[in-house]
């Protein structure tokens, strides 16, 4: 017997109720896990696409930026970028996915990214910054998707642990205990019957 309980009819009924509940819970969790997996795979595709796009954007940006700023000292670059003007208007909302609350961001870039004059400033710097302004929403989207993937993965892991606990531990234990109690009760019933028959036989002999 896996679960320490007294082998009574009351307990048997209680355990049977628990088993039915566990089976229903297992089915629900299994459905949840399947749905989470489906969403997870969808998000993974989105993440791959978003990551590829952002990596390419970043690569193009750095190539252009490194080339454009090659002739400047660190101090001069500090002076150029010391007073950033670009403002990000970021709005967030919470989207429910199963029992999860996932954040969703919307970014709008207002004002110019330009934070310096034009005399002795390489054209390439402006071009690279314009490119950067263009991919900021992609960058935020990537962060959002990456966070959602992580949250979903954690939830899938938690759900799978619960499903497995139900499937491989609780339900088999309950079934085993129920079987044990049933056998025990049958055994008691049989022994009672035998005892009664024996008593009857003794009574009839006298």
């Amino acid at each position: 017997m896996k679960i320490e309980v007294s082998a009574t009819r009351m307990e048997l009924l209680r355990l049977r109720k628990r088993l039915a509940l566990a089976r229903r819970g297992h089915k629900l969790l299994k459905d949840k896990q399947d749905e989470l997996m489906r969403k997870f795979l969808e998000l993974i595709e989105e993440y791959k696409k978003s990551r590829k796009q952002t990596d390419q954007d970043l690569l193009d940006f750095y190539k252009e930026y490194y080339r454009a700023t090659i002739e400047y000292s660190e101090e001069r670059l500090m002076a150029l970028f010391s007073y950033p003007e670009l403002e990000l208007d970021m709005q967030s909302e919470i989207v429910p996915v199963m029992n999860l609350r996932l954040p969703k961001f919307q970014v709008k870039t207002n004002k110019e990214i330009k934070c310096f004059g034009v005399k002795d400033v390489n054209v390439g710097i402006d071009f690279s910054l314009a490119r950067m302004k263009g991919f900021i929403p992609h960058l935020v989207k990537l962060a959002e998707v990456e966070n959602n993937v992580k949250e979903l993965a954690l939830e899938i892991e938690r759900t799978r642990r619960r499903v497995n606990a139900l499937e491989y531990i609780l339900i088999p234990d309950l079934e085993e205990t129920i079987d044990y109690i049933s056998m025990k009760i049958s055994e008691v019933e049989r022994s009672n019957l035998t005892r009664l028959m024996k008593v009857k036989e003794i009574v009839e002999r006298h």
């Binding site: 002739e71 000292s73 101090e75 500090m78 034009v118 071009f127």
Partner: protein, 330 residues
């Protein structure tokens, strides 16, 4: 015993000779190309022979100071030529002024010690409107542009006003000096700046009114003419300048733009053109021009050193680095 006293002209000619001797110690283009092909270690070894250390910026600052002291000493008794040291210092002062004006909204940047105006005076100029401390002769112009810069709340607006102040004061000083060469150089420089900005904003798809905010009035190109160009294709713009001295700059930029939609070549071609103007001064023996050429040559040398070392640190290819190295003065 008889003593000889050199005249100021003789002393100046002797100084120019000294500059010519110093030119032989400048880094040449083949050496820069050789550096670009080598490793970072070999570059540091090579530049050490020319007086630069591993800490490049520190040695550039030292070199700038030495060059400035030398030039100041040479032109000390030639008042007409003080324009060179004035322009040199004005550029550094404007850099400090920009940083100070932006400082309420930006981290405090190190004060450039090469300027004429001290940190305390800079505070006096901005906070107490003591504009004569910026420029005794032209405190009105300085006052106007500094006030305009303070009114502008954007960093690009502040930079634009102080850059305009620098160009206006430079033009005034150049006119006063009556050195024709500097006048030609200055106008070509400002024209190229305006053309660069025109191309910059045109290809960033900004409208002409946006470009107008960054237009420099002290060049020879009129705003109306630039407005006409704003609507034209780059190859047509290049054609409109075919009679100008700097026609090749635009022609090569147009070719590069058609090839790979890139304006990076403009920067290199512009510097090479200005360098070719500076190289003319090597043919002159008397006058302030050779000293100007030497200063220009030193600035190009610093730029090339930064290109090579930054390029190597950023792992750019040898061809990319060589493409960006500017023509040298010697």
């Amino acid at each position: 015993m008889m003593t000889f006293e050199f005249t100021n002209d003789a002393l100046f000619s002797f100084g120019v000779g000294k500059i010519k001797a110093l030119e032989t110690k400048m880094i040449t283009r083949p050496i820069f190309d050789q550096m670009a092909e080598g490793s970072l270690e070999s570059i540091y070894k090579s530049i050490a022979e020319y007086g630069y250390s591993v800490n490049l910026e520190e040695s550039i600052l030292k070199s700038k100071k030495t060059t400035y002291d030398l030039v100041t000493h040479l032109i000390e008794k030639k008042e007409r030529y003080h324009i060179l040291s004035d322009l040199y210092l004005l550029q550094e002062d404007c850099y400090n002024l920009k940083n100070y004006l932006k400082s309420p909204k930006s981290p405090v940047l190190p004060f450039n010690p090469l300027g004429k105006i001290s940190q305390k005076d800079l505070q006096e100029i901005v906070n107490n409107k003591r504009y004569h401390l910026f420029d005794k002769m032209d405190s009105e112009i300085a006052g106007y542009y500094i006030a305009q810069a303070m009114e502008r709340s954007t960093p690009s607006g502040i930079d634009q006003m102080i850059d305009t102040l620098f160009l206006e004061l430079s033009l005034k000083k150049i006119r006063q000096s009556e050195v024709d060469y500097l006048n030609v150089y200055f106008h070509d420089y400002v024209d190229l700046l305006n053309i660069e900005n025109l191309l910059r904003f045109k290809f960033m798809k900004k409208d002409f009114s946006y470009f107008s905010q960054f237009y420099f009035h002290c060049g020879s190109l009129k705003k109306r003419f630039l407005e006409e160009l704003y609507r034209e294709k780059i190859e047509d713009i290049a054609l409109r300048f075919r009679s100008k001295r700097y026609a090749s700059v635009l022609q090569k930029t147009a070719e590069a733009w058609i090839k790979d939609q890139n304006l990076n070549s403009f920067e290199v071609e512009k510097d090479n053109y200005l360098n070719s103007l500076a190289r003319i001064t090597r043919l002159l023996t008397f006058g302030v021009e050779p000293i100007f050429g030497y200063l220009f040559g030193k600035e190009t040398e610093y730029k090339n050193l930064r290109i090579i070392i930054n390029g190597k640190q950023r792992k750019l290819s040898v061809d990319q680095i060589k493409e960006m190295i500017r023509q040298t003065y010697v």
